[in-house]
Amino acid sequence: MDKPFAITLDPGSSLANRTGSWRTLRPEYIDRLPPCNAACPAGENIQDWLFHAESGKYEKAWRSLVENNPMPAIMGRVCYHPCEGACNREQVDSAVGINSVERFLGDEANKQGWQFSPPAAATGRRVLVVGSGPAGLSAAYHLTRLGHQAVIHEAAPLAGGMLRFGIPKYRLPREVLDAEIKRLTDFGVEIHLQSKVTDVRKALADGFDAVFLGVGAHIAKRAYIPAGDACKVLDAVAVLRGMEGESTPLLGRKVVVYGGGNTALDVARTAKRLGAEEAIIVYRRTRKQMPAHPFEVEEALQEGISIKWLTTIKEAGMSEDGGDIMVEKMALDDKGFPQPTGEFERIAADSVVLALGQDADLSLLENVPGLVVNKGLIEVDAGMMTGHPGVFAGGDMAGLERTVTVAVGHGKLAARAIDAWLSGETWTPPPRHELATFERMNPWYYSDAPKTVRPVLDIIRRQSTFDEVLGGLDESNALFEARRCMSCGNCFECDNCYGVCPDNAVIKLGPGKRFKFNLDYCKGCGICATECPCGAIKMVPEEN
């Protein structure tokens, strides 16, 4: 139309006015390290696999998961999930049930028969992996992905190491263990059972380009307890391993377990399931000081295990009528150390099981030059390499933090280091983003959704059978749980920045492509940064 001069204007013509020149602060999209990822000993990218799980893409989620950890079904049961301890959601309502979702994905993979994506092109390099525990399996898996031939030698008749011989069925059903090991062998991991490696140097000589040691720690620590014949004294390792043999160990009607770690609890709970009327744990410190995980202590107590804190065993089965032990009460001194009180007591006991920790069997390492052993542990560098070039180690034999997850992490780390070493480089860990702390978040945008409680097996069956105690999530509540993730520190395309910009200065790039700022018009008000739920936008000063 032939418009009147000046008072009537063409639509949208203000685009000619570049208000970006007003800006003194510039918004930038950043990625921060989610606390769950940071806390995972196995270095899982938890947020990433939850992201896929949120939209019901379980296989995609599982594949993301197994890039770092080949055993989700096992992890989802036996991991003590430090990720959940670090989860920012704890400060909104309760931590995301990461472990339960992981288990759901693992079980789903077994149900659907998903296989690993094919490995990289074969390099022709062969790596000897000693031991088929979590560290060994993990190392072998990652080496295989990288195109190397991983060959596991396992002394025992069955693969799995402590997964099989240390963890009771009621926590890790064997069909789950077997399924995930089978997937690994299907993937190309060689496992030679009942073939104990006795000499590492020899092995290196027979055409292996590198070695990873993951023999674990199977030798029970002993403590001197004067004992008579009336009372059996056994060790936890033997008892738990015995559970995998043809005949289960004979512990009698009254069982005393000595120690305060998870193993002590495993034994006590096993004893109960074997039919013991009484299973008593004797521990010289307080409940607070127990190394065992509180939730396991709780479960044990539920199952009727009794625990004597601040108590030591003085002697076993020495009295005339036998079948008992003598214990002494302890008291904490001002430094918090237990001191004898001189108060004694006798407790009926058919057997005493010592669960005082384990040592690694390092006999196969004799006369390997450069290799340093310190307090029963092999010293390794940041890449898990021992003092002897090409010999790497991980798992219980290489550290005091002895959990399945740590072992899996060692295996992965070692595999990457071995890969680098094989190509004449030294492995350096990738740079880490700054941590996505809760203060950087805007939790308003997350609606309230408390953690889903996993079903727990009823108490009677827990005391009598080895059925799995903790149930899994079904699809609906696994999805629910996954969607509780707040995606700390990383854009999840909620469109907030795009929506809240008063100057339409945010460009939406489409699904999966995130956003970018239109600096021609962004005035730098910072609303986008303040209103970003997960703290993925940072305001930085404009250089002049």
Binding site: P4, F5, I7, T8, L9, D10
Partner: protein, 417 residues
């Protein structure tokens, strides 16, 4: 068709013939009969495709008209006096935005003191508002001017006030020739707006214009009104062709040929003046009349030409620019600058004071002998005025003026006979 009807009714019927689409009504004397009549026509369906809106103030009336006109609807309203002043902000806005609204102003005095009777103070207060202003001499001309006004306004994209004397015309029942719908349709094409609010072609109307362009906007409004000076006579000529009547135009001369004295005035008083002039001519006076129909734009050249051969002019006006004198006179004087004419201003009929032949005879005869003040107040009661002036000299607290004067003249004195 000839009809003997009230002026308000005549205007209402003429407006209806122009097919208005939005009419805003707010009551104020003496305009009320016009919108009452239109409201009735819309309600009984005789005026269809028209929204009649009872608004809550004159300010709203003009604002509704602005919105409607900007959306391409032919819009009309009517007001007077205080009502016009109350809508002033919107009055300026309508012309500033170039919206062709037609508004009847039933001329009435402005208070205080409150006064419902006729004079031209209300319309003339808006002489610089950017609106065109046409003044009707009779009811016939009033209704004719409305028909021309819609066409002019829409052609120029400028609003127009059609001014008619309150009561004297609005309430007078006399003969008018009411055109037919066919005639009006032949003369007045449908409204084709220069700018319109339409989702199909979005524009922003009413931008903030700074120093860099404001003067240009204002000049263009001025240029538009200059353009109107040629359009108005042209449309009046076309009107005559269609309706067979002389109506509108810029000026109407009467007995100006060979006149030494020319009386200049606007509106209905011209009739009385013409009767007086006839009688004075009969007595041998060389006197004539110049009626100004178009006050805005002010036809400077036409006025100068009309006065080219006289010796003196007398502007008789129903308005007072307090502190200087006449408003119309000031405009006329600008037109005759340098022509060496004697000019007199006669302020008459303020607040409905009757303008009688008797008084006009007297003042015109004196003027013809150059025997009046440059600014003369017709039929002013000097006795009362002087009394009040003395009173005010005498006492600081002399009290309210209007009430004092009424006491002095006696209430009956406020009557018209």
């Amino acid at each position: 068709m000839l009809k003997q009807i009230e002026g308000s009714r005549a205007v209402a019927e003429a407006v209806a013939l122009c097919r208005p689409e939005v009419i805003c009504a707010y009551p104020i004397s003496p305009q009320t009969h016009i919108v009452e009549a239109l409201g009735e026509m819309v309600k009984d369906g005789s005026l269809s495709d028209c929204e009649f809106i009872n608004v809550e103030s004159e300010f709203a009336a003009m604002s509704v008209a602005i919105g409607a006109a900007a959306t391409g609807a032919r819009s009309y309203t009517a007001t007077a006096s205080q009502g016009l002043l109350y809508m002033v902000e919107a009055v300026y806005n309508a012309s500033g935005l170039g919206l062709p609204i037609v508004m009847t102003v039933a001329n009435r005095a402005i208070g205080a003191p409150i006064n419902i009777w006729n004079d031209h103070s209300d319309a003339l207060s808006q002489r610089d508002s950017g609106w065109l202003q046409l003044f009707a001499e009779s009811n016939q001309e009033a209704l004719d001017l409305h028909i021309q006004a819609f066409r002019l306004a829409e052609e120029l994209s400028l609003p127009i006030m059609v001014c008619m004397d309150g009561f004297i015309l609005t309430h007078a029942v006399e003969r008018v020739d009411m055109p037919t719908q066919q005639q009006v349709d032949a003369y007045l094409p449908p409204y084709a707006p220069r700018q319109v609010l339409d989702p199909a072609e979005p524009v922003s109307i009413g931008a903030m214009v700074g120093p860099e362009a404001f003067m240009e906007v204002r000049y263009l409004a001025h240029a538009k009104q200059q353009e109107a000076l040629t359009l108005i006579p042209a449309y009046a000529a076309e009107f005559k062709a269609v309706f067979g009547r002389d109506s509108g135009g810029l000026l109407h001369g009467y007995c100006t040929a060979g006149a030494e004295t020319i009386i200049i005035a606007m509106g209905s008083v011209l009739g009385t003046i013409k009767d007086v002039v006839d009688e004075m001519r009969a007595d041998g006076h060389q006197i004539g009349v110049l009626g100004i129909t178009c006050f805005r734009p002010f036809p400077l050249a036409a006025v100068a030409a009309a006065l080219a051969h006289c010796k003196r002019f007398v502007v008789l006006e129903k308005s007072l620019a307090i502190g200087i004198g006449g408003i119309v006179a000031t405009n006329v004087r600008m037109a005759v600058t340098g022509m060496g004419l004697k000019g007199y201003t006669v302020i008459a009929g303020l607040g409905g004071r009757a303008i009688t032949k008797k008084s006009l005879h007297a003042v015109f005869r004196k003027a013809a002998m150059d025997n009046i003040e440059p600014v003369t107040f017709l039929d002013l009661d000097w006795k009362v005025v002087n009394k009040q002036l003395e009173r005010e000299k005498a006492h600081r607290k002399s009290g309210p003026v209007a009430e004092a004067l009424l006491r002095d003249v006696g209430v009956i004195g406020a009557r018209n006979y």
